[in-house]
């Protein structure tokens, strides 16, 4: 089980090709995979579809991907704190799909756990429901929201062991556990690489079987 998944940063971001769909966890930049984002910018990768809760803030985290025009499309729940998102959207340089935050989490979870989608009361009677299937269960209406998946997920863990088990510090966990299940390739940056077995099995937040590659993070 102790196979080493460590990869150089450049080799890791080389897995991401122009035009791919990428998931990045975190909230308003906190918990973003900052080191991987910087390497991705360095690599020049572009035309990406980003699935991330928000556009962060200018100059921080995924906000940099927006600023440097690396995104074709952003799927998020909130973009208000990064005015550049709105500007690019109005200039038709960036497509934005807004998803209620709870639905956003569940759509990713569905994508990673083999479910056909989510039946949620959220969005019923609003423009979010437009064009979507409504399913009635015991007389109550639910919106069918479809699964989300990505080519690559970029995670940020505090403690990561060589097998890829992740422990997230503070509330950086956010969407990362569901994203770890919903992407074809999962790359985690580790603030700390810890020995195998040093995360108690009960406290592993993301099991290592979901993580393909690990890079050294923390330096941002």
């Amino acid at each position: 089980m102790a196979r080493d998944k460590m990869l150089d940063l450049e080799d890791a971001v080389a897995k991401i090709e122009d035009g791919m769909t990428v998931m990045i966890g975190g909230f308003m930049g906190c918990g973003n995979a900052h080191v991987l984002i910087d390497a991705l910018l360095e690599a020049g990768t572009t035309d990406l579809t980003l699935i991330c809760n928000d556009g962060a803030v200018p100059g921080f985290g995924v906000g940099k991907l927006v600023e440097q025009h690396r995104l074709r499309k952003l799927i998020a729940s909130h973009v208000g704190l990064n005015p550049e998102v709105g500007r690019q959207m109005n200039a038709e340089e960036l497509e934005v799909e807004l998803v209620p935050q709870g639905t956003f989490a569940e759509r990713i979870r569905s994508g990673g756990t083999g479910l056909g989608g989510v039946l949620t009361p959220t969005g019923i009677g609003t423009i979010v429901a437009e064009g979507k299937q409504v399913v009635e269960v015991d007389g109550r209406e639910f919106l069918l929201e479809k699964p989300l998946r990505a080519d690559v997920a970029l995670l940020s863990g505090y403690k990561v062991d060589p097998f890829g088990n992740i422990w997230y510090r503070g509330d950086t966990r956010t969407f990362q556990p569901v994203m770890a299940m919903a992407a074809d390739v999962v790359i985690a940056e580790a603030d700390m690489i810890v020995p195998l077995g040093s995360i108690p099995p009960e406290d592993v937040h993301t099991p290592g079987i979901l993580v393909d590659h690990i890079v050294k993070g923390g330096d941002w």
Binding site: S77, V79, M89, Q101, G102, G123, R173, T174, V178
Partner: protein, 221 residues
């Protein structure tokens, strides 16, 4: 007299009145802005558990024990977990929210209407911040309290019918403004408390939706 209250006095009045809606032990989610001031005004003996939808149950203010690099609140500001608090993932957080495990949510509004419909996330062509967690919160929380100034620079925000895209339908339970407290009932809006600085006519003038006046009408201060 309305003109004697400045912005901060209005916020204090509203946040203070919201605080009296909360019961000891309630689990509460507070929207950004005015609602975050509510905890300052909780009566003695009342403590609530703050939930931040990005993954804190028992959220607290920024503290040296918790690095801002790893802990922020739902506004993206440095935060902490109080002793006995928990950090959870977003799917679980919204499971709590959608599943009715939050006793109350307090948030602002662009418009509210006679049926309790709420609009607070988009002004087409002008402002598109996104709904964030608001749509889930107002659908899932047991009690939805709108805390806002009664008008937008004199333009009524409490309407017969919302004109902006909705956040959710028939979700608001209570509206608390600097003019009074309005309950959303199946028969429409009921003014249950008034700020004695205003007359009933003044409140009605600042409100497009029809208002029933509770008997007796309480004072909000």
């Amino acid at each position: 007299m309305p003109t004697t209250m400045d912005k901060q006095e209005i916020r204090t009045l509203i946040a203070g009145r919201v605080a009296r809606e909360l019961k000891d032990g309630d689990v509460v989610n507070l929207g950004i802005g005015l609602p975050t001031e509510v905890p300052k005004y909780l009566p003695v003996g009342v403590s609530v558990v703050l939930e931040a939808e990005n993954g804190i149950v028992g959220a607290g203010p920024a503290s040296i024990t918790f690095s801002a690099r790893y802990v922020v609140d739902a506004g993206g500001k440095p935060a902490s977990a109080i002793p006995g608090g928990a950090f959870i993932d977003s799917a679980t957080s919204f499971g709590l929210i959608r599943g009715g495990h939050i006793d109350a949510t307090v948030l602002g509004a662009l418009e509210v209407d006679a049926k309790g419909n709420l609009a607070n996330w988009i002004i087409p062509g002008k402002m598109l911040p996104g709904m964030g967690g608001a749509m889930d919160l107002v659908v899932g929380a047991k009690k939805v309290i709108v805390a806002m100034e009664h008008t937008n620079k004199g333009r009524p925000k409490i309407l017969a019918e919302c004109t902006l895209p909705l956040t959710a339908v028939e979700c608001v339970d209570l509206i608390i403004t600097e003019m009074g407290v309005i309950e959303v009932t199946p028969d429409g809006l009921v003014l249950t408390e008034i700020n004695p600085d205003f007359t009933i006519d003044e409140v009605r003038e600042a409100t497009v939706a029809e208002l029933t006046i509770a008997e007796p009408l309480g004072s909000m201060v």
